[in-house]
Symmetry: C3
Subunit: 419 residues, 3 copies
Amino acid sequence: MENANIDAANQALNAVSEVGFTVSNIWILIATAMVFVMHLGFASLEAGFVRQKNVVNILFKNIMIVAIGLLSYYIIGFNLMYPGGEPGGFFGFAGFGLSMPDGAAGLIDYAGGAYGYHTDFIFQAMFAATCCTIVSGAVAERIKLMPFLIFCLLFVTLSYPITGMWKWGQGWLDQLGFYDLAGSTLVHSVGGWGALAGIILLGPRSGKYTDKGIKPIPGHSMPLATIGVLLLWFGWFGFNAGSVLSADPGAVSLVFMTTAMAAAAGALGAFVTSTLMFRNYDLSMALNGILGGLVGITASADGVTGTEAILIGLICGVLIPLAVTFFDRLKLDDPVGATSVHLVCGIWGTIAVALFGNYGDGVGTMQAQLIGIAAIGAFTFTFAFAVFGLLKLLMGIRVSREEEFSGLDIHEHHVKAYS
Amino acid sequence: MENANIDAANQALNAVSEVGFTVSNIWILIATAMVFVMHLGFASLEAGFVRQKNVVNILFKNIMIVAIGLLSYYIIGFNLMYPGGEPGGFFGFAGFGLSMPDGAAGLIDYAGGAYGYHTDFIFQAMFAATCCTIVSGAVAERIKLMPFLIFCLLFVTLSYPITGMWKWGQGWLDQLGFYDLAGSTLVHSVGGWGALAGIILLGPRSGKYTDKGIKPIPGHSMPLATIGVLLLWFGWFGFNAGSVLSADPGAVSLVFMTTAMAAAAGALGAFVTSTLMFRNYDLSMALNGILGGLVGITASADGVTGTEAILIGLICGVLIPLAVTFFDRLKLDDPVGATSVHLVCGIWGTIAVALFGNYGDGVGTMQAQLIGIAAIGAFTFTFAFAVFGLLKLLMGIRVSREEEFSGLDIHEHHVKAYS
Amino acid sequence: MENANIDAANQALNAVSEVGFTVSNIWILIATAMVFVMHLGFASLEAGFVRQKNVVNILFKNIMIVAIGLLSYYIIGFNLMYPGGEPGGFFGFAGFGLSMPDGAAGLIDYAGGAYGYHTDFIFQAMFAATCCTIVSGAVAERIKLMPFLIFCLLFVTLSYPITGMWKWGQGWLDQLGFYDLAGSTLVHSVGGWGALAGIILLGPRSGKYTDKGIKPIPGHSMPLATIGVLLLWFGWFGFNAGSVLSADPGAVSLVFMTTAMAAAAGALGAFVTSTLMFRNYDLSMALNGILGGLVGITASADGVTGTEAILIGLICGVLIPLAVTFFDRLKLDDPVGATSVHLVCGIWGTIAVALFGNYGDGVGTMQAQLIGIAAIGAFTFTFAFAVFGLLKLLMGIRVSREEEFSGLDIHEHHVKAYS
């Protein structure tokens, strides 16, 4: 009788574990779908911010990036980023394709009982393509399609997973105490460094920097850009709160709140700063302020208070018009402001972990954060510069002047965005 | 041994409570993200329904409203709407910023074990900005940006939380038996009354009401408007079913079903009525019919059958073309039909609680519903009229004739929606 | 004391069952909202792929289809598709409207404890309208509004539920071992057969097939089409993974992964094939490749590996440009490629179940799959052809030449898509 009692109680405890697992697993899958929406957000934003003659091209690139990102992450990237083995390494590879790791006899034995193997893969795979999408906007309106897709394939298959492994795959930065919840550095700065390498090697769009000063080249559709930013904000709830990697109520609730507050503060910061700087209610600055706030909070969304999140986002918002102006002074032409948003705010957000984050002894120290920023920046920029440089030598990366003038849509796609 | 058994069983029961809490909490957060999408929906809808020359302006306003709404609700609004203390009051304030209420030692002790403190805040905060977004559409194409943003700040920080507290903060209307699940009155009519005050004080757009009759001013993009309405519908599942404030399967399932049926019936009602009235298959009427159906079911979505929901929605659909015509006769110019959708259908939906709702003794009586409609209407309209009136005196609220003619985008933002 | 122990343990077990039910139920409702987004996706895609003069018309149709689909499924369709009674039948009807089936005393007793009655209805209802939306795109730019809506009403009320019952309502195909997880055949091919019947009876758009060859008629907005496809992809996660009909972690995770991989592979397959065939980076082919991959994986998403999903999707992608070319050779004019995407890839996906699927003895055999494809195809095509044919006789289904030339928007809706 007593044994029966114990059995019933244990049976109940096991059943609870399974249901708890089911909740966390389904949440991470829902978060995966939300992160997927970010690709739609990027496609809309970038399409909105380029000229009408290059819209089909940017849409085509962003579609193909998602496809390439998912497929290459399936074949190679995932096992490069999560190689298993001893923690603390610089590089590892667990083999091609997906395969249940040893010891994960059942789903619930994987990842400490919070989510299954396929969930782990598909959530991470959705992240992977993001780093290329960020580059896509910066090099828009002048890069050739084929070399760009080759760059993306290499960037997402090799560069992103290797530096990602340093932290999320229990690599050396993780052992050092570097902290980055959802990728201010690991995703956004990585994209930003790739973008910077690209625009240095490509040069600015014709007519952007003239003897008479900097000529603004307005995007062709503000509604499209606005829709894109709000879709990105929506998706970011999944990006940050899914990165809790469970449905833990305290952590997920906090992340939702801090993510929203930083985005709102980013809009406000950019609104006030750009109004003072340009005497103009500048929609694209407010939009990039939102994105900046989101990038900035991404590293520390689970370790700061709401008020700290507002402060982090506000500073991101202030940084946006300053960074846009700064890059323009350097004649680094970035049609969508990707370097300002993802690189500058990504670095700031990673530093903010050390200033505000609350992660316990030795985690998120200023030293660890700076080493992480520098190491990942150096690796990524070098990788991207080398690949873009090689492609420039081998096949050229920039479209002809005539093609740039008449638009990439007609030349590469034989179709117009609007008929 | 027996103690061990009891311990194991109790441990299991506690674990079940925690998992149950986790499920409800994650649902309300997902619903929060869905409500966020409504802001994108409103931005798209309103942008689609205005003329091309005012598109950037409406997008800018809607972006800033979300930012202002979230930030002010964080600092003041939330604690004004949920002051705690004795039930039945008219006004209360629990202090600036967020702070865990006394007695909520752990997350699970808060809100009866269904969701955490931060979840509560962020779900409610997403609602708050909605009331201003509704006003935004009605006053579009002629209001000055700065006074509008000041109005929004005051409306969302003070007016909305005070009347919200009367019901959702356990205030006097709640004690009276007034019922409003997700805000037919508390959100939508509130927005509608604000809109009405605004358009009375602003006057109609130039050229709308002429000696030769009412001149229709068609919106600049029907695809944008349609996307907006369908995004609103999507978000409304979170708005209504999240307002169950738990993942309770019976209630949430019912709300999903009634919400969808009312929206569908709203489309049908508006389609048939407008086809009979105007001899025309009118897309904007069908779209507003959907929104009307959604507003109408918002108060009673958890207390009616599917058939009753269809009836409620159908009447909303019929009301839409009638109300649009009615407001036009009064020369109250509302570019997006916000007063017809949110005020008229919001009132009808609140009355429908008394006609069809099934909430037990003394809850949702006709008397309580009418008192609620009247009290909240009187307070909100007075507040909005006073604020808009004061702003009109102090700084003017209407753009110049020349600015209205050439468009707000060029004057206030120095940029065009489409290049 | 011992009894108390047993009670506590049993109480815990019951509580676990309830929470497990709550998780599955909320997941299927969230999936419902995601499937709803597919209607927005279809509306955007089809609007993007038609000419500017017919945009309001296609938006109006897609809005009304959702409304008609939900309402008719409530009144008749659901009880036609799930009649209860003996398994293995060809036809049954459980009566008008919704009513809790006998024996389902409580929510948790319904559907084996995974979801409630209203959840079951609303999830299925969201699916129903899809079959008409597919037709809508194929017959665009030349069909009269009223006969089209009458066709939709009959198609979604009678044809779709009857063939749906054969499998999902435990009908004769289910007994035979036919397998179709989420509707490669039951939803997508059904839509495709209806589309085929429609375009045969309607004839091509004027000017499409000329003496000088096939004239491409490009869609009016590539951004709209792209947004549509990515929204469809997002919604498809709910469509396929919701069709697991529980939150079972293993199955839902697998479906998310296979769905994403097939879509990505579809894009790649269409990209490579169309680049080889047309010497052009064709955006609309890549977009339809994604949709083809999604349609193709829909039948077997829960029974194949990731690598098999990639193979299935890749073949879909290759099929798209071939099928588009094939239908064009037959002078079957399909403005959005609905027959290529939904009919061709739907058939292939249903066959793929037999080739790759892993469902145990006698389930998903090649014989069963082919019988299912043929039987549902024959019934649906006959039904659609008869209804369209009858409507053609009774009231005509094609707009006048003049109306086609000047556009349906001005003639049927007295408004332009863009002002």
